[in-house]
């Protein structure tokens, strides 16, 4: 299972510090993808990503976990921080958008 956390940052002019804000969490488990969080709608499950190792154009239908690992390559502009981690087992993620490649 792959967990992808999307966060953003706001600058606090008073403290001169960045404040990290959650955007969304994506869980790819087998062929299923769940997206939750305060800005879950910002993250599209339909983006294809070029795999830099193979140059394949990878979509969610090519394997949700493979696709999820590549998500940092889809969000390169710097305003979304994308952190990918492998997790051992599913954890409750609350209300979430749920996408499946199953017919």
């Amino acid at each position: 299972m792959i967990r992808v956390r999307f966060t953003t940052s706001e600058f606090n002019a008073k403290t001169q510090q960045w404040v990290k804000l959650p955007v969304a969490e994506l869980i790819a488990d087998g062929e299923d993808v769940r997206i939750s969080g305060p800005r879950a709608e910002w993250i599209s499950p339909d983006i294809a990503i070029i795999d830099p190792e193979t140059t394949d154009r990878v979509t969610r239908a090519d394997g949700a976990e493979r696709w999820a690992r590549l998500l940092p390559f889809a969000y390169r502009s710097g305003d979304l921080d994308v952190e990918v981690t492998e997790v051992a087992a599913a954890e409750p993620v609350g209300a979430a958008f749920h996408y499946s490649t199953a017919a």
Binding site: R5, T7, S9, F11, A13, Q16, Q17, W18, K20, R39, E41, W42, I43, S44, I47, A48, I49, I50, D51, P52, E53, T55, R57, P72, F73, A74, Y75, R76, S77, G78, D79, L80, D81, V82, E83, V84
Partner: protein
Amino acid sequence: MLAEAFAGPPAPTSSPGVNATKRLVLSDGAVVFHKPFSGVHVANALAYGQTAETPPLHDAVGWRLAAALGEPWQGLVSPCVLRDYAGEDGALSLQAPGWPGDLAPTLNPTWCLPAAFLDSLIAQQDRHAGNWRWDGNRLTLIDHGYAFARPDDILNHTDLLAARHSHGATALLAGERQVLKRLLDDAGLLGIASLLISDRARALRERARQMLARDEVLRPGEF
């Protein structure tokens, strides 16, 4: 506005190995992103037919071309210049208003038509809803690192151009013909040719010529 001094530290990042872009604040309060040449993910750039140097360069050239074309294209692209931060040369772009992931601009001709024209002209290879921002009223295009492609380079997404085609609006508008003529009438492509590697400048000229000759935007992936 992008010449102001930097204020404070960069925002922390969780994935520095993949994305070396730094989020920073300028002294006037503007939030900016610095994409250093040294931070280009080389394998990813090569996969797109780019080089280790072209993504930050193309970010800035994308803005320069939009500015040279004038409105409405200038207002569509987030301003971007080449500038160093902490001793690293790179592209510095202004944060765009709005949010990612919203498909509303694909249904709005005011924004979709000029954006699709620009993406066709610059041979944008990766325009998906994560690479634009929409604030409910205004579209801003960001990330032109994978653009100025050459024939046979790969296409990942060109969603706004695909939308213009799907709406049957491929024919050039009067203002589009006008700027293509202006671009082609200038030997230096309005100052852009000298900023690009020569084969990419030739490809830009050929796309402009093709668009004008056929009186339409090019097909997705037609670089």
